[in-house]
């Protein structure tokens, strides 16, 4: 039960994140949703680590968190630059290139 719940939460977190990316237009919120997706994966890793007794999983989670942090750093920089040029963080504003 506990095990299933853990995985389920992981999956649900991931799904919420993915869904959020799809429906939100604000770049920052979208990025937060992506973080959610990564955390969904983290929860699964943690679950595996805990229930199967594999320490490796926790290491992986740490790395993923580091990655998320790095992404956040660069992402915020980009979003800031975008904000400066376009005066907003709504992704619909990024429409110069298409087709």
């Amino acid at each position: 039960m506990e095990m299933t719940l853990t995985y389920l939460i992981g999956i649900i977190t991931f799904a919420i994140g993915a869904f959020g990316v799809l429906i939100r237009k604000n770049a920052i919120v979208m990025f937060i949703c992506i973080e959610l997706m990564l955390n969904g994966a983290n929860i699964i890793f943690m679950g595996v680590s805990k229930f199967k007794g594999l320490i490796e999983g926790q290491v992986i989670v740490l790395f993923i968190m580091a990655v998320a942090a790095a992404e956040a750093a660069i992402g915020m920089a980009i979003i800031t630059a975008f904000y400066r040029r376009r005066g907003g963080v709504e992704v619909d504003k990024a429409d110069l290139m298409r087709w």
Partner: protein, 473 residues
């Protein structure tokens, strides 16, 4: 799993260390005194040459470093050459471009080298976590590079698109890894091979493959590519289009032949689908493009499709052909973007075909060089592009993928059209308001070098082939 770092481990990643140190030195040197016309590119190039030297020294050393996290074999060393070369070329010619854009900053070279470093690790990873981390390191560097000219709208737009979609895909790969881990209890490729596939595993594998395809800009996960490649500064586009894809392809070779080779049926149909879609979407969408960079972006999607033909063939010959194709692809696209970044005027408004038209009148050599790269991309014999295609198709036929190869052949005929279109604009129309073109020494050198390599490998492909074949082992 025990983590024990020995001297041997360090020795085995010496080239990577050199690249890393060079990047750091460049960043420090830049911080020391920033000047508009600094020669940091030379510094970077020297560092890369040293790295290549160590790579040469180590070539042939075989083994796993850092407790099975990193696999050093001939393929890895060969790949290192490729990435070092790509970074070397990019660093050299980018300076002219960056000076024109008033952005000759050390970060650029640093980021390029960090990206190269991550690619080297991608090519040597035998552990999904290492792959994931390297991939993310590479992506982060490339996000930054894509938006490098941050006061240009297109650049910023490219960066944000790349970043959001890239991070989104990273989420998939993370969860894919998690599912694989759930099933295999390990992310080491050696362990994954042993797994009996079930639904969860297949799902995880598929998600992971999706992430890989995403980075290859293979359809249907190619959507980001045209925008990002078009918007990014030309040298960056050149670099990320070539080196990053080559890195992934080499990992794919590893992944599919070593890890998942045993249960081919799991992924071959997926690869074939991606291959067909990439060729169709890439080639057809490119037909109507009027911007060289965007056109080449679509063409790169199609090229991913061609290479996937060989991936789907899944034989040793095919593995070699994939690597060969990746090398060929790097050479010609780097060349094309070197020329384009020389041609593209200030503010980079000039990559549209109309602006390039008639450029052959003023700059016949430059136009001729670009034509060589374009013909190579089109797969005209005498160029490395043809040999690559030939090899890939041969591998495909060998594996009995008749219809796929036929499809690819027809596609490559269709593709010739849009490459010709560029040649047509350059050679066969009268010039109208040409962008100011300055070809610096470094750019000139790079272009000549690449032209020679493209033609030489197109006429005498033997030595490169042999290197790759032995690298595949």
């Amino acid at each position: 799993m025990e983590l024990m770092v020995t001297t041997k481990d360090i020795m085995l990643i010496l080239p990577e260390i050199v690249v890393f140190l060079t990047a750091v030195v460049v960043l420090i040197a830049d911080a020391w005194g920033r000047s508009r016309e600094s020669y940091l590119n030379i510094l970077s190039a020297l560092g890369l040459i040293i790295a290549a030297y160590f790579n040469y020294k180590l070539f042939g050393d075989h083994g796993r470093a850092f407790s099975y996290l990193i696999l050093r074999d001939k393929l890895a060393f060969f790949a290192n050459y490729l990435f070092i070369f790509c970074a070397f070329v990019t660093c050299l010619y980018a300076r002219d471009y960056l000076i024109r854009e008033n952005r000759n900053y050390g970060e650029f070279y640093g980021l390029v080298m960090f990206a190269a470093l991550s690619m080297m690790f991608i090519a040597s990873s035998s552990h999904l976590l290492v792959f994931f981390l390297s991939l993310e390191l590479m992506s982060v560097c490339l996000y930054a590079l894509a938006g490098f000219v941050r006061d240009r709208d297109l650049c910023v737009e490219a960066a944000i698109k790349y970043f959001l979609i890239g991070a989104f895909a990273a989420g998939f790969s993370a969860v894919g890894m998690a599912l694989i881990y759930f099933k295999a209890n390990s992310l080491d490729l050696v362990d994954i091979v042993a797994v009996k596939p079930d639904l969860v595993f297949v799902l995880g594998l598929t998600l992971f493959v999706v992430a890989v395809l995403f980075k290859l800009s293979a359809a249907p996960f190619h959507v980001w590519a045209p925008d990002v490649y078009q918007g990014s500064p030309a040298p960056v586009t050149g670099f990320m289009m070539t080196a990053s894809k080559a890195a992934i392809f080499i990992f794919v070779v590893r992944l599919f032949y070593e890890a998942f080779g045993v249960n081919k049926q799991l992924w071959i149909s997926l690869i074939m689908l991606a291959s067909v879609l990439s060729m169709v979407l890439g080639n057809f969408a490119a037909i109507r493009q009027m911007d060289v960079k965007r056109l080449l972006a679509y063409s790169s999607i199609a090229h991913a499709g061609y290479a996937l033909v060989a991936v789907a063939a899944a034989t040793k010959v095919a593995a070699a052909s994939v690597v060969y194709y990746a090398v060929a692809y790097c050479l010609m696209n780097l060349g094309a973007f070197a020329v384009i970044s020389a041609m593209a005027g200030e503010g980079e408004e000039a990559t549209s075909l109309e602006r390039l038209q008639g450029i052959a009148v003023e700059h016949p050599a430059l136009a001729a060089a670009l034509s060589v790269f374009l013909f190579s991309l089109a797969g005209i014999p005498g160029t490395v592009g043809f040999m690559g295609k030939f090899y890939v198709f041969a591998a495909g036929l060998r594996a009995g993928l008749y219809w796929l190869v036929l499809f690819a052949l027809i596609n490559s005929a269709i593709a010739a059209y849009y490459y010709l279109k560029v040649v047509y604009y350059m050679f066969m129309r009268d010039p109208v308001s040409l962008p100011k073109v300055q070809v610096g020494v470094a750019t000139g050198f790079v272009v000549v070098l690449l032209v020679i390599l493209v033609i030489q490998n197109g006429i005498i492909p033997g030595c490169l082939y042999k290197m790759i074949y032995t690298a595949i082992g």
